[in-house]
């Protein structure tokens, strides 16, 4: 720890960085999250900013709590919630939130059903999120411009007030599709001015999704046979063209179904199976997907 009482004492930022335990969070981010390069770069930037901010606070250069509210935009299944969880860890490590819990909510958790129901409900959630991070998924549903008597407005007002007055107690992260969030901010300028960091989550490409599916399976002690590997590659290409494609989430669902088919296939066998067979996903488990059957054959 550098001696801060001397004005020219040098500050070893690397040591600060290591001291906060940040490296483990950021390294974990690099390892466990596939792709998302711009997001990781932004997170590193924010982490550095917060680290500098912390040193500045210690030296007395700044006294105000920085605005840390964030906006995560991107398509479904691009890892917004996962990154928010990491963010809570980073903020905790740097001491910008005290407890570091992540409370993930949607409109239903904040907005009530009748007059007088919204404020207590919103306050209840805010109390739970105090000292941590409040993650509002699909935040644009809070505001319904078509219904002027919608109770969402009330929740928004309470949120804005807390975001402004209790900046040191709570960090709010709003998440949703990019275009609808943009519209939401235009209609609620109060939010835009209170949010310091906008992070855009790009879609995964096919190779990244394949990598994701492998890590997902490895975590559950499964693996793809070489032929299944190829089948999965084809699956991803086809699945992307289907409606309701939601990146990693679609892959997770596909793998859950593949496991289901694998179990059914193994149960149908008359002979005893080797233990390795329980870990192996075969092409048949993937190729049975509707994605393959509904696509017209290219040459026919």
């Amino acid at each position: 720890m550098p001696d801060v009482s001397q004005p020219d004492a040098l500050i070893d930022l690397r040591a600060e960085f290591a001291g906060a335990g940040l490296e483990s969070y950021l390294a974990g981010l690099e390892q466990e999250l596939v792709g998302l390069k711009p997001v990781k770069a932004r997170l590193r930037e924010i982490a550095s900013l917060l680290l500098i901010e912390r040193v500045r606070q210690r030296l007395g250069y700044t006294t105000e709590a920085p605005t840390l509210h964030m906006s995560f935009t991107g398509n479904p299944g691009t890892g917004k919630t996962t990154v928010a969880l990491r963010m809570a860890g980073i903020l905790k490590a740097l001491g910008f939130v005290r407890q570091g819990q992540l409370i993930s909510v949607t409109r239903d958790d904040l907005v009530g059903q009748y007059i007088g129901h919204t404020a207590p409900k919103t306050k209840e959630i805010l109390k739970k999120a105090m000292g941590g991070v409040l993650f509002i998924d699909e935040a644009y549903y809070l505001y319904r411009p078509d219904n002027e008597r919608d109770y969402g407005q009330e929740a928004i007002e309470i949120l804005l007030q807390v975001m402004e007055n209790q900046r040191e107690d709570l960090v709010v992260i709003l998440a949703g599709y990019a275009d609808r969030m943009e519209n939401f901010y235009t209609l609620n300028p109060g939010f835009r001015s209170r949010i310091a960091h906008h992070i855009d989550f790009p879609d995964y490409d096919d190779a990244e999704l394949l990598h994701i599916s492998e890590t997902m399976l490895a975590r559950q002690n499964y693996r793809l046979s070489p032929a299944a590997h190829q089948a999965m590659q084809d699956y991803i290409v086809l699945r992307r063209q289907k409606p309701y494609f939601s990146n990693a989430r679609s892959i997770r669902n596909a793998l859950d179904r593949a496991r289901l088919r694998q179990a059914a296939r193994l149960m149908a066998l008359d002979t005893p199976v080797r233990p390795e067979a329980l870990m192996l996903i075969e092409p048949a488990d993937i190729l049975a997907s509707r994605v393959f059957t509904q696509v017209p054959i290219a040459d026919g």
Binding site: Q99, K128, M130, G131, G132, Q166
Partner: protein
């Protein structure tokens, strides 16, 4: 007469900062903190009015202190106590309770003697404020 009950009651009243630290201690153990208030200071008055529900799943003392602030606004001249409930199996009761607000003036109690059969005496404590109807006592 200063009412003493619960933890810390022989100490000077805790400051908000001290209360906040005690609350954080409770929360770190996963106890559910709640507030209760009353204007009947009698020592046998066990069941006070609840201020909302016990607050489960709260991580940070700031949320609890906000609730205390609201309770004080509504019940400025009342006793308010903080209770920390431990829901752990086999414990399932309060682990800590202390007074976080008291009225500005505490008139104390009157001791009355009832002479009964023989030369027996029954004692009764009555709070001076209990003469007045509830809600107008302090």
């Amino acid at each position: 007469m200063r009412i003493t009950q619960g933890c810390f009651s022989f100490l000077p009243d805790l400051t908000d900062q001290q209360i906040s630290k005690q609350v954080q201690y409770c929360l770190d153990y996963g106890w559910a903190v709640s507030f209760e208030y009353t204007d009947d200071p009698h020592p046998r008055n066990t069941y006070w009015e609840m201020w909302g529900h016990p607050m489960f799943d709260i991580k940070d003392a700031v949320a609890i202190m906000g609730e205390l602030r609201e309770c004080r606004l509504m019940h400025g001249e009342c006793y308010i106590r903080l209770c920390a409930f431990d829901s752990t199996h086999t414990w399932e009761s309060l682990r800590m309770s202390f007074i976080v607000q008291r009225p500005s003036h505490e008139p104390g109690f009157m001791l009355t003697r009832h002479e009964t059969e023989g030369r027996n005496i029954r004692y009764e404590t009555r709070a001076y404020v209990a003469e007045k109807p509830q809600g107008t006592r302090y």
